[in-house]
């Protein structure tokens, strides 16, 4: 039977996340020590070798991202993305509440690698208690001397899903409207206050201490080859065990639901599962035997994304759920680019029409056209991903739409 494999959450609830000394007792801050004994270039190579890829959703090789940062400017920034706004996702909160010091250590490791002395954690406005926890954890770590010269400041978001996009996040730290920037320039070259900046997810940073302590090979050997390590998943919807789990990345989606998750609630049949948050594709039951790693998910037209697993039983109305999701994107579009600003609104309108039994085949055609253009022509990932729940359900659950038409 498939088991959890806890690396980041091994000492969950056994240590006080605010206390550096607790963390040090279980091997903490050894990774940073090791990193500082290395040449920054070798350190980046080591991270590349571990195969660690971004855990926020884009899956970009972390070491590679760091290597784009130019050496010469004196001021550079390390930014942690704790804006997790994907509905059904709370793994970054869990990592902070169980093992905040690992996040701080990971950021300091990155700081050393790219030559930055200042880190920022951008925490979503929904988590004021995590902001407090992190401030205490940082204070404690600074006091203990564990972070050395590396400073970390916590900034709080204010309710904008789009700020999970790294350039919107940067704009928000700068005190602006959270509107994504066009790329290039990428943050690695021109980020926070136009200085080189590495933005990584909480989970990505938290992996680093373990990679340094146990070696890149060790990490590369866990889970799927192309996306090694573990992944913290959060299970929601019609599932017996609606909680979080840490699993190796070659773990099968079926086992997530039926082993760890305890199966569909009430012994009902599974209709669909949406992985990666609300921008993820709906996966039909025939695709359950897929490992959860980034590339395997991509291969079935889905995405690992944030690691949220939203389970829907046989009684669920797919069109109604997608209608709700369309409303989410309409609410969260920043309004900057035309395809997303107008597209998310019209998607919501058409979905509402279909859901209320007033839709026609022409509406479905219009949805498909709109989705295609939003995916190809939107400025940032929000507009590009917003139609995925629509297109994936039109592929796998078209009959649910058809039966609601006039």
């Amino acid at each position: 039977m498939a088991q959890e494999y806890r690396v980041l959450l091994e000492y969950a609830d056994k240590i006080n996340p605010e206390k550096a000394s607790d963390y040090i007792k279980v091997g903490g801050y050894k990774g940073l020590e090791k990193a500082r004994s290395m040449n920054p270039k070798d350190l980046i190579e080591e991270v590349k070798k571990s195969g660690l890829r971004g855990r926020g959703g884009a899956g970009f090789n972390a070491g590679m991202k760091w290597s784009f940062v130019p050496q010469y400017p004196e001021t550079k920034y390390v930014v942690c993305n704790l804006d997790e706004g994907e509905p059904g996702t709370y793994k970054d909160r869990i990592i902070c509440q169980k093992n905040a010091q690992a996040l701080l250590e990971g950021m300091a490791i990155c700081g050393y690698a790219i030559g930055s002395k200042q880190g920022y954690i951008y925490c979503r406005g929904e988590y004021p208690f995590v902001v407090e926890l992190l401030k205490n954890a940082i204070g404690n770590a600074k006091e203990s001397g564990a972070l050395g010269e590396f400073d970390i400041e916590v900034r709080m978001g204010a309710g904008a899903y789009v700020c999970g996009e790294e350039t919107a996040l940067i704009e928000s730290i700068e005190g602006h409207r959270g509107e994504p920037r066009f790329k290039p320039p990428f943050p690695g070259v021109e980020g926070l206050w136009r200085m080189p900046t590495v933005v990584n997810n909480v989970e990505t940073f938290a992996c680093l201490p373990y990679i340094l302590t146990n070696g890149a090979e060790w990490f590369a050997g866990i889970g799927a080859k192309s996306y090694p390590g573990t992944k913290v998943l959060t299970l929601t919807g019609d599932i017996e065990n609606a909680t979080y789990f840490e699993v190796p990345t070659d773990y099968l989606l079926r086992d997530v639901i039926y082993e760890l998750g305890g199966g569909v609630k009430g012994g009902k049949k599974l209709k669909a599962v949406q992985v990666g948050g609300t921008s993820g594709a709906f996966i039909p039951p025939q695709n359950l035997d897929t490992p959860i790693d980034f590339d395997s998910m991509s291969a079935i037209g889905a995405a690992l994304g944030s690691g949220a697993v939203f389970v829907m039983d046989e009684t669920r109305d797919i069109v109604d759920i997608v209608n709700r999701i369309a409303k989410f994107f309409e609410h969260e579009s920043c309004g900057q680019c035309t395809p997303c600003r107008e597209g998310t609104f019209r998607c919501k309108e058409i979905m509402e029409k279909i859901n209320n039994g007033r839709g026609s085949l022409q509406d479905i055609e219009n949805l498909k056209l709109l989705a295609r253009v939003m995916m190809k022509a939107s400025l940032c990932g929000l507009g590009q991903a917003a139609p995925i729940p629509i297109t994936s359900t039109l592929t796998h659950f078209e009959y649910e739409y058809l039966r609601k038409l006039v």
Partner: protein
């Protein structure tokens, strides 16, 4: 270092750092845009200028994508045309289609592009929230039911004028252009320069003074220099039936080297006196308490004679010269020279000191 790329089958060489939009235009492609303005910071947001780089998953906005060596670009591929049509349809879906009475009729980007791509109506028409702003100021009409949210007005206000009176408020579909607390322009730092009207690609912003007097696209344009001050701004008088019916900007740096189209409230809106019956069009001489019309020669001779008389009778310091900011520096120089060299007094002053 130069960059070589292929655009619509044509090889083009451009300097490094060139954006695709310029490279495409160099290759002869006509790239439509709403938010792009060469005098303003880039936005990359209207997505009308998208083009297709071969082998890329997505389309790119050509105004913010630097040309790269070896790129193969199509500017009118089926995907590009589809995207542009949908962008236009999305704009049309919330656009107040009153082209017949619109000041921008005939020089509106939305109109022109819909014509170009054969977009007659929108498949996406649904709810329309009215964003019209009833603003009592005498100069600028703000009809945001025609706004395409290109934000050029916001950038022009920040970057050209520096008034920073407007910004985007709210977000998503509900985002709109607003002053602080969505008030009226008169209560904001707005200086009514009308640079926002100048850059607006559609009919959302227009001149209240010129409204109904003649559509700018149909007026005869006479290039001239603003007479309000010595700066020497170029402007275009809009002439219809031999009457001045408006002022618009000429942004061509060759024709408008001083101001590149930017004007102030006087230059842009203060032209209606031209046709006023109360305007003096010939010199007047007062005789026995009554004004009578005179020729310039007669009037100048009379003034010269009187000045001479005062100088001879009472000395040069009994005369003073007060000159105006409406004349140029050179003319002001000549004025003081006339006073000092010809009349012999230092009693010279200027209205700008008041």
């Amino acid at each position: 270092m130069d960059i070589k790329l292929t655009i619509d089958g044509k090889e083009v060489v451009v300097p490094q750092g060139t954006m695709l939009i310029d490279a495409c235009r160099q290759a002869g492609a006509d790239i439509p845009t709403f938010c792009f303005d060469p005098d303003l910071k880039l936005a990359g947001s209207c997505r009308m200028c998208v083009v297709q780089p071969k082998g890329w998953r997505n389309l790119v906005a050509s105004c913010v994508t630097p040309a790269q060596n070896g790129m193969v670009i199509e500017t009118e591929s089926p995907d590009v045309i589809e995207a542009r049509k949908v962008v236009l349809e999305l704009m049309l879906a919330r656009h107040k289609l009153t082209c017949h009475t619109c000041e921008k009729d005939g020089e509106c980007n939305l109109q022109d592009y819909c014509y170009r791509y054969g977009v007659t109506e929108s498949r996406f028409v649904g709810k329309v929230h009215s964003l019209f702003k009833d603003d009592s100021n005498p100069f600028i009409e703000r009809d945001y039911d025609k706004c395409v949210m290109c934000t050029r007005c916001v950038r022009a206000c920040d970057e050209i004028t520096g008034a920073r009176a407007i910004n985007v408020m709210d977000r998503g579909h509900h985002a709109k252009i607003a002053t602080s607390f969505d008030g009226e322009l008169a209560d904001s730092p707005c200086v009514f320069c009308g640079q926002c009207i100048m850059v607006c690609p559609v009919g959302a912003l227009s001149s209240k003074i010129a409204a109904g007097k003649g559509k700018p696209a149909q007026n005869e344009k006479v290039l001239t220099t603003c007479t309000y001050c010595g700066t020497g701004c170029t402007l275009e008088l809009n002439v219809k039936n031999d009457k001045v019916v408006g002022v618009t900007s000429n942004r061509d740096p060759e024709w408008s080297p001083v101001n590149r189209g930017a004007l102030c409230v006087k230059g842009r809106f203060g032209w209606d006196f031209i046709n006023s019956p109360e305007r003096l069009t010939t010199p007047l001489i007062k005789e026995n308490g009554e004004f009578r019309e005179a020729s310039w020669d007669e009037a100048l001779n009379l003034a010269a004679q009187k000045i001479k008389g005062i100088k001879e009778g009472y000395g040069p310091d009994s005369l003073a010269m007060f000159s105006s900011a409406r004349i140029t520096n050179e003319e002001n120089y000549l004025a003081q020279k006339l006073m000092r060299a010809a009349i012999g007094s230092n009693n010279v002053d200027h209205c700008a000191r008041l």
